[in-house]
Symmetry: C2
Subunit: 464 residues, 2 copies
Amino acid sequence: MRTDPTAAIAELKSRFGDRVETGEAVRCAHANTLTWIAAEPPDAVVWPLTTDEVAEIVVIAARHRVPVIPFGAGTSLEGHVNAPFGGISVDLGRMTRIVQVEARDLDCVVEAGVTRPQLNAYVRDLGLFFPVDPGAADATLGGMAATRASGTNAMRYGTMRDNVLSLKAVLANGEVVTTGGRARKSAAGLDLTRLLIGSEGTLGIITELALKLHPIPERVIAVACPFASVAGACDATIEANETGLGLSKVELLDALQIRAVNFHSKLELTEQPHLFVEIAGGEAATEEQLRQFREIAIRCGATRFEWAADESARRRLWQARHDAFWSVKTMWPGKSVIVTDVCVPVSQLARCVDETVTDIKATGIPAPLVGHVGDGNFHVLPVFDAGDADSVAKVEGFLDRLVERALRLGGTSTGEHGVGQGKMAYLERELGAPAVGAMRAIKAALDPLGILNPGKMLTGRNTN
Amino acid sequence: MRTDPTAAIAELKSRFGDRVETGEAVRCAHANTLTWIAAEPPDAVVWPLTTDEVAEIVVIAARHRVPVIPFGAGTSLEGHVNAPFGGISVDLGRMTRIVQVEARDLDCVVEAGVTRPQLNAYVRDLGLFFPVDPGAADATLGGMAATRASGTNAMRYGTMRDNVLSLKAVLANGEVVTTGGRARKSAAGLDLTRLLIGSEGTLGIITELALKLHPIPERVIAVACPFASVAGACDATIEANETGLGLSKVELLDALQIRAVNFHSKLELTEQPHLFVEIAGGEAATEEQLRQFREIAIRCGATRFEWAADESARRRLWQARHDAFWSVKTMWPGKSVIVTDVCVPVSQLARCVDETVTDIKATGIPAPLVGHVGDGNFHVLPVFDAGDADSVAKVEGFLDRLVERALRLGGTSTGEHGVGQGKMAYLERELGAPAVGAMRAIKAALDPLGILNPGKMLTGRNTN
């Protein structure tokens, strides 16, 4: 059900001038889904500079019953920025002010369009960093909050859920809501901060964030070790967790992903499942952790144990991990690659991965696997031919079985990528009708006209 | 606005028999507020044994438009369990089943009436523990989730917000909602888990929780050091945070609180502001942290630095801290003691405490001060004569100024005790009308009849 956006766009143009664009290239660039989901461009794109301008845009859109789709860097993976009913893409990419940094409180306040690298460059000289690091290097912090982003540091530092102190957001009625201040904790009222984190633009448009910062560790050690089996790598992770080692990162790459990483990053790792591990802390603490983790890894079947504390070797290893997606693109040029994501209790991970690898072999499509094994979250990257219906059908069947498997093993359909359009079909299966009903009641209460990012998460393709 | 509960109680009795009680002693025991707020007993108390029974109770109450007040251990501090409009107190104290413990996943599933000591006794032999430790030793885990409880371990392990994986709860319509599974993280849908945590029984009745567990640290060291000033103690805390030491607990006790602790726990601490600190981890890591923290403390003006690694000395110190409330009761027998709570950014803590101590002196009532200084959260314990109107007025004025001060310094009216009845007046002042409006919209959407714990947090005394 589309509403004619003409009047809304005219009003936006008279207010925001050339900060409103309707050209096809711009519109298409704002419907980049990085998945197999077809791009659905908005009718117009507008670039606000302040929270109040975002509020004005929402009021105009509400008056004309036109959808509003918040846009950060467009690196989300489940069609979050698509405009299935048309509407206005609100690009927060020009709201890039770092409003406040309080080193003594280990926090900062930033506008939603600030990217992770921008913030980290800004606070590095203070000995601080912001830890959440999704695969998309240039993701905006507003977008990361809206999708409850996570990444390799989540094991030690948590996800966006844990690193946002409070938010400023524009609600569907045009009101600007402030969910709290910079206090480290609060028990004052309903947790609107966490309700907005992961709401994917369906309840409000995040315009400003108070974030936790963390001291850059004194010393960092990178470890890479191959295992004969995925089960051994998982056992080592579980034992490290049980021992309370406090590892910073524990990443699993399967043999095929190692082949791609070797090819792309000019490494010579053994083509076996690997754990990439990061240990961080004081001099003595890191030595102790390294020794303890080495014992655990070898007991669990690590066939080698290599580590590096100097920055260039560490960076090389972690860059290779970060480039996992691109390594797959490079190894299979011209093919499409989907990055999908599920998460299971860590004890079920080896089984989930083994069954998935068997499924991949049976399906006959290459699909490297890489994961945040420390919290049971992993990604599979099926490589396929987007123009070939049979290939697409195979991938879709595989993705469906992957989610079914994760749910059967007590997990979730998405550990960190979110629901968007791609995982809508699974939400009720995962959480049950009462939970989804409660979510829809909240959505209807806060956005009765259904203008905020319709067709995602809770509202289907045929309703607005 | 009271509804006649007679018919509802009759129906409950016919269904639950002698698990429904209406005797005065029982009703009064369920309106224990531990504050200056007058007790407002419910009309009846019912003890369900299962989630489905809780759902039945809610359906009966809804049919008769009678309020439902969830009750755990009754140790909350802001009148959460009062029944200002009468109604049914639902005591979850008989739902004490530990449903599942998964050591390899470091998690468990428990019913809402399980207490923290019960859970910790159960998992100790597995080398695990549940870290959230509010002052009330026998608090139930359901109540702790409902009030977003916190405590001395929050600095390292987080609050209930961070340690609940998912919840089962009964909504106002009688539906049983499951907010997730045991996966360590999920991006599937709105964060109903966090929305229910801290909702104080106004959105649903929590009946079951999946919780994170943590490995018991290899070694624990307790430190006590006196400072010439509160500012010095705060500086030491901030510097330890900035260095990323990862201390487990950092507690501040002012000189008056030390006097009470000495009196009650037979200690001989210098009557100066103290930091009580806990360091936990591996052998080498704890040695390193101890050395680093000692340097910081002495640089910031610690006049002594005492530490103990053996269990009995550690327990003695922390027991004294835990008994802070009782030490005040013992030192001023026959007097009333309020435990109030605010939280400010850590950089503002010394100023907030100093201004508060000045205010205490001017007001002329003794009020020891103790706080989770690591996260800027502190408690003041005014000692007064509940029967003397002047004394009560003085305390009320002091409490009001304390909250104003915390808000002025960028803090919150409550770090961990919640809103209940006692902090309702501050919520809109703290968060603004749009935030409270959004909370009320959510409340109205999920509980249109207003039967769940009315008169708390969002709904005033004169509306239901």
